[in-house]
C-alpha cells in the first residue's frame, strides 16, 4: 500500500504540470487586456507626468525640458487657471445638491410599481440613454435668445427671458440645469433600488406613534438612505469635475470664460493653442483631484459596508 518515492515524484510532477497549464491558461486569458492597459492607460499616465515638465508644442513638434515652469505658470501667473478651478467648483456645487435632492424626491414619487410610475420612470431615464452631444445641441436650440422656444414660452406669460447661453450671469446656470436633467434618471434608478429596501414596519410604527409624513421623511427616510446618498453624491461630484461635452457644445467656455471649466481648459490649451506641455500639467491637476475623490469614495464605501457587516 505504501507509495514508492518514484510514484510520489511522478504524482507531484503531474500536479505541477497541471498547475502550470492552469497558470498559462489564466495569463493568456488576461494578457490582451493587461497589454492594452499598459499601452493605452498606464503608459500615457506616465507620459503625461513627463510632458508636464516639458514645453511641448503640438503643431511645431518642438519639445524642450521646462522644469517646473508649467506648474509655476499654472499656480502663479495664469489667472484663467484659477477662474477655471472656480468655475469647475461652481458647476459642481451647483449641480450636485440639485441633482441629489431632486433625484431623491422623484425616486420617492415613483417608487410604487404602477403603470403611471413606469411611464414616469421611462421618461426620467430617457435623457440618460441619449448622447450628451445630442442633448446639449437640442438644449442649445431651446435656449437661444429671442428665437428659442424657452423664451418664446416665457414671453407668452410676459417674461422677457435672457439670452441664456450668451450672458455671463446665466450661462453657467443654464448648462448646470440641462446637465442635471440629462443624468437625473441615473440617480433616480440608484435611489429606487435603495428605496424599495426600506423596511415598511418602521414607517408603520412611526405612523402609529403619530409621526407626520414629513417627520417620517426627515427622521427615517433621509438617515436610512444616507449611504446611498453619499455614494450618489461622490459619483455625481466626480462626473461634474469631468464635464466637457455640454460646455464644448453649448458655450465653448464662454461668454468671457464664464463657463471655462477644467477639462475644457485642458482641451483648449492642448488642441486649440497646441500647448500640450501646459495642458499636460493641467491634466495632472485633474488626475490628482479625481484620484483623491475616488480614494475618498472607496473609503466611504468601505466604512459603510463595515458598519453593515
Amino acid at each position: 500500500m505504501t507509495k514508492t518515492p518514484s510514484a510520489n515524484r511522478k504524482k507531484n510532477h503531474e500536479i505541477n504540470r497541471r498547475k502550470r497549464g492552469e497558470y498559462l491558461f489564466g495569463y493568456s486569458c488576461i494578457a490582451p487586456q493587461i497589454l492594452g492597459f499598459l499601452v493605452f492607460v498606464l503608459g500615457p499616465l506616465v507620459m503625461v507626468i513627463v510632458y508636464g515638465f516639458e514645453n511641448r508644442n503640438l503643431l511645431t513638434g518642438k519639445t524642450t525640458f521646462a522644469g517646473l515652469s508649467n506648474f509655476t505658470t499654472l499656480f502663479t501667473k495664469d489667472p484663467l487657471f484659477y477662474k477655471t478651478l472656480g468655475n469647475t467648483l461652481v458647476f459642481t456645487l451647483g449641480l450636485v445638491p440639485l441633482s441629489v435632492l431632486s433625484s431623491l424626491l422623484l425616486a420617492l414619487a415613483v417608487r410604487k410599481d404602477s403603470m403611471r410610475n413606469t411611464v414616469f420612470r421611462t421618461i426620467y431615464f430617457a435623457p440618460v440613454v441619449t448622447a450628451a452631444v445630442a442633448w446639449a445641441i437640442v438644449w442649445k436650440f431651446l435656449l437661444q435668445g429671442d428665437q428659442g422656444i424657452v423664451n418664446k414660452v416665457l414671453a407668452v406669460v410676459g417674461i422677457h427671458g435672457p439670452n441664456w447661453l450668451q450672458e455671463p450671469g446665466w450661462a453657467m446656470g443654464a448648462v448646470i440645469v440641462t446637465r442635471v436633467i440629462k443624468n437625473l434618471g441615473m440617480n433616480i434608478i440608484i435611489y429606487l433600488a435603495a428605496v424599495t429596501n426600506l423596511p415598511d414596519e418602521l414607517y408603520e410604527a412611526a405612523r402609529i406613534d403619530g409621526a407626520s409624513k414629513l417627520q417620517a421623511f426627515r427622521k427615517l427616510t433621509v438617515p436610512l438612505l444616507m449611504p446611498t446618498t453619499l455614494m450618489i453624491t461622490m459619483i455625481t461630484v466626480i462626473g461634474s469635475l469631468k464635464i466637457f461635452d455640454h460646455i464644448m457644445l453649448m458655450t465653448e467656455g464662454g461668454p468671457s470664460n464664464a463657463t471655462m471649466v477644467l477639462v475644457y481648459y485642458i482641451y483648449y490649451q492642448g488642441f486649440r493653442f497646441f500647448e500640450t506641455g501646459y495642458a499636460s500639467a493641467l491634466s495632472l491637476v485633474l488626475f490628482v483631484i479625481v484620484l483623491g475623490l475616488t480614494l475618498a469614495q472607496w473609503g466611504i464605501g468601505k466604512r459603510f459596508s463595515y458598519q453593515e457587516g
Binding site: C29, I30, F37, F40, L45, V110, A131, F141, I189
Partner: protein, 281 residues
Amino acid sequence: MKRNIVLAKTREPLTILLMIIVALPFVFPFWWMLTSSLKTSGEVFGALSLWPKTFQWANFAEVFTYQPFGLQYLNSVYIAVVVTVVTVVLASLSGYAFAKVRFPGRSALFLILLSSMMMPAEVTIIPNFFMMKQFNLTNTHLPIILLGIFGAQGAFSTFVMRQYFLSVPHELEEAAQIDGLNRLNVFLRIMMPLAIPALSSASILTVLNSWNTFLEPLVFIDDLKKFTLPLSLNNFRDAYGSPVWQLQMAATSLSVLPILIFYVFAQKKITNAMAFSGLKG
C-alpha cells in the same frame, strides 16, 4: 381618517400635475427636436408653433447631401460594432480567468485593471494623441476603436463578466472537467452560454458608450468623411458658422431615435445595466 382620505383624493391629481410639469424638460426636448426637424427655416425662427405647418421631409434628404452623413452614420455603426465585439470577447476571457482560474497575482492584476475604470480619458488624451501620431494613426478610426476597447468601459465590462462568473457554482465546472472537457472547452461550451445575461448587459453599455463618444473623435478626426455622429451633429452650419437648425435637428433625430426605440423595448434590461454602471463612478 376621513380627512386623510379627502386630502389624499385632492392631492392625487395635484401630484400627477406636478409630476407632469417636472417631466416636461425631460420630454419636451425630444418633441421639439422632432417637430423642428420637419419645419422650414422660416418656421423655426418664426412665431411659436408646436406642430410643423407642412412636413418638410426634404430636410431629412438634405441632411445627407449637406455633408456625407450616410458615411458618418456608418462610421459610428461599424465602430460601435467592432468596439463592442472585441470588448465583449476580451472581457469574457479575462472576466472568466479572474473569477475561476487560479494563478499567482490574480487579485493584484484585477485591481490594477479595475483602476482604469476611474481614470478619466481626458487625463491621458494628450500622450495617446502623440502616440497615435507617431504611428500615423491620427485621422483614422483606429485610435477611437483602441481607446474604446481598452478604456474605462472595457475594464468595466471585465468587472461585469467577472462578477457573473463568480456567481456560477464551482461544481458545474468540476463536473464538466470530470466528463473530460478541457479548460477552454469548459469556458466555451459551459460558461459562455450561461453568461448570456451578463454579456448582453456589457454589450448594451459598450454600444451606448461607443455611440456617444465625443472627445476621441473630436481630437483624432479631421476628415469630414471619417466623422462619427457626435462630431457630425454639430456640423450643420451655414457659411457664417451659424447652425442650420432644422438640419441639425433632423440629423440629431436620426442619431437619437434608434437608441430611444431600442430603449423603449429593452427598458428594464437597459436601466438595470446602466444603474449598475452608474455605481462604478
